[in-house]
């Protein structure tokens, strides 16, 4: 069973996978700000993708690792996880 990834969970993943500390409220306020401005690089995003894939036991589309902002990422991830859940 899969559930939607929330902003809180994304913030926690950014911390765990990339060492980036971001307040979930800040993330919500800046949901269209590029990941790079939070200090999250391509490897960090790949780490988050891998973590979500392993947690849910299913692959995410390759576009996930190319998402530039938190909103794009959550939209893509959640539409994938909820479709066919």
């Amino acid at each position: 069973m899969s559930s939607e990834v929330t902003l809180e969970e994304l913030a926690a993943l950014m911390k765990k996978a990339a060492g980036v500390t971001v307040d979930p409220y800040d993330l919500e306020a800046r949901v269209d700000t590029p990941f790079a401005e939070f200090g999250l690089d391509s490897l960090g995003l790949l780490g988050i993708v891998g973590e979500l894939e392993n947690r849910n036991g299913r692959a995410l589309p390759t576009d996930a690792e190319r998402c530039k902002t938190p909103r794009d990422f959550l939209d893509l991830v959640n539409s994938t996880l909820t479709a066919g859940a």
């Binding site: 060492g19 980036v20 500390t21 200090g39 960090g44 891998g50 392993n54």
Partner: protein, 411 residues
């Protein structure tokens, strides 16, 4: 250093992370007092292994020194290296070194064990859970170049970047590599080595070294130059130096703490300690020649001190061969008997100690070593005051390399 006629290379900064001190001041105080910190290994998952004693770096908190984004993607050996590099740059007054001209600052590290703890964790994920559980940082944390790359990125240094994965003596090779890079025109090179070989699998890998001491009692585990010598004890940590064009250093008002005057490296075969006599003597002569230094000018020797009877004998004889009668008179010390050998990091720690010894006019003692059974004047028990203008640092590696480095006092 063949370009030394035109560019002299100075050491202007020192950063240390060692078992007897995680900053330079504490390290020097411990070295001068001959503090002995070898102890039973306490790192997780190591207690059952037949390697009992080592020099662990304890009380080191990387998160106080290094941004978390760097910490998550690096192994402990790079944490040490980044911390030591940061301290060395601060010491040199170059924390902002890259701001004006990034290409004028290079980085070179020596590495002998890589990111073993990080690597073991990822191997466990791969074999225990599956390939999809291997994280994205394995590709950049385990390999030997990790510390050079991260120091370059963290500092914004775009100058020549190098990595010599060359055995213990590679620590001295890295300092020489830096000096030669300065000789070719780069203003500053951040140079050194730090190791973290005390993870369970890394320790298993070291068990095959015939020179490894497996003694149970820390007090008896590493006693070079004595009849009780029974091998060496490994350690964590290392040191990073700022190596800089001496004229540039003076121009910016920085203190020239020492000059890297000469270096030479030779090879005489893995574990062939009798042959290392000739190899070490040849390296000493080469380093003296490059430094334009007579044997009698050497005021102190920081010995390799392998702790294997044949190796200790070879080193004592090499000093006699290369320095003549002076070889029996010059004070010799081996502070590493108090902290163990952190592979490539060990000789760089000795370079740091040699610079500090020249500055302070104190030859630090060789901790826990008594009843020397070779014809050398080994400084034991307590520091010996002396006017020190020139120091010779020696190192040998388990795979057969020998190196010698001559340092001159600054000013």
């Amino acid at each position: 250093m063949s370009a030394r006629a035109t560019r002299r290379t100075a050491i202007t900064g020192i950063g240390v992370v060692a078992p007897n001190g995680t900053d330079t001041e504490t390290y020097w105080k411990s070295v001068r007092e001959g503090l002995f910190v070898l102890d039973r290994i306490t790192r997780e998952g190591c207690g059952h292994l037949p390697l009992r004693v080592a020099g662990e770096v304890r009380g080191f908190d990387p998160s106080a020194l290094i941004e978390e984004t760097f910490l998550v993607q690096t192994d402990r050996f790079s944490h040490f290296a980044m911390a030591a590099a940061g301290a060395a740059l601060k010491d040199a007054g170059l924390s902002d070194a890259a701001a004006d001209s990034p290409y004028s600052v290079g980085v070179v590290t020596a590495a002998g064990s890589g990111g073993g703890e990080f690597g073991q964790r990822e191997l466990q994920r791969l074999w225990g859970q599956g390939s999809r559980f291997v994280g994205p940082y394995q590709s950049i944390a385990w390999f030997y170049a990790a510390s050079t790359g991260q120091i370059s990125i963290r500092g914004g240094f775009k100058g020549p970047c190098g990595v010599v994965a060359s055995d213990e003596a590679g620590g001295l090779d890295a300092v020489a590599h830096a000096a030669r890079t300065v000789g070719r025109g780069t203003d500053v090179v951040v140079a050194g080595a730090a190791e973290a070989p005390l993870a369970p699998y890394s320790m298993v890998c070291q068990l095959g070294y015939p020179e490894l001491s497996t003694a149970e009692d820390p007090a008896r585990a590493y006693r070079p130059f004595t009849s009780a010598a029974c091998g060496f004890v490994p350690a964590e940590g290392g040191a990073v130096l700022v190596v800089e064009d001496a004229d540039r250093a003076r121009g910016r008002g920085a203190e020239v703490r020492a000059v890297v005057a000469g270096h030479a490296a030779t090879f005489t075969g893995a574990s062939q300690w009798d042959r290392s006599r000739e190899g070490l003597a040849h390296a000493i002569r080469g380093a003296l020649d490059e430094a334009g230094c007579a044997p009698e000018e050497i005021d102190v020797v920081f010995a390799d001190a392998m702790g294997v009877p044949e190796a200790d004998r070879a080193e004592a004889l090499a000093l006699a061969d290369a320095l003549g009668p002076h070889g029996g008179r010059v004070p010799v010390t081996a502070p590493k008997t108090g902290i163990g050998r952190s592979y490539c990091g060990a000789p760089v720690l000795d370079v740091a100690a040699a610079v500090l010894a020249m500055e302070q006019g104190q030859i630090p003692p060789t901790p826990n070593v008594f009843d020397v059974c070779h014809d050398i004047d080994l400084v034991t028990s307590q520091a010996r005051p002396a006017e020190l203008r020139t120091a010779l640092v020696l190192s040998r590696g388990l795979m057969g390399s020998n190196a010698a480095l001559v340092l001159r006092r600054g000013h």
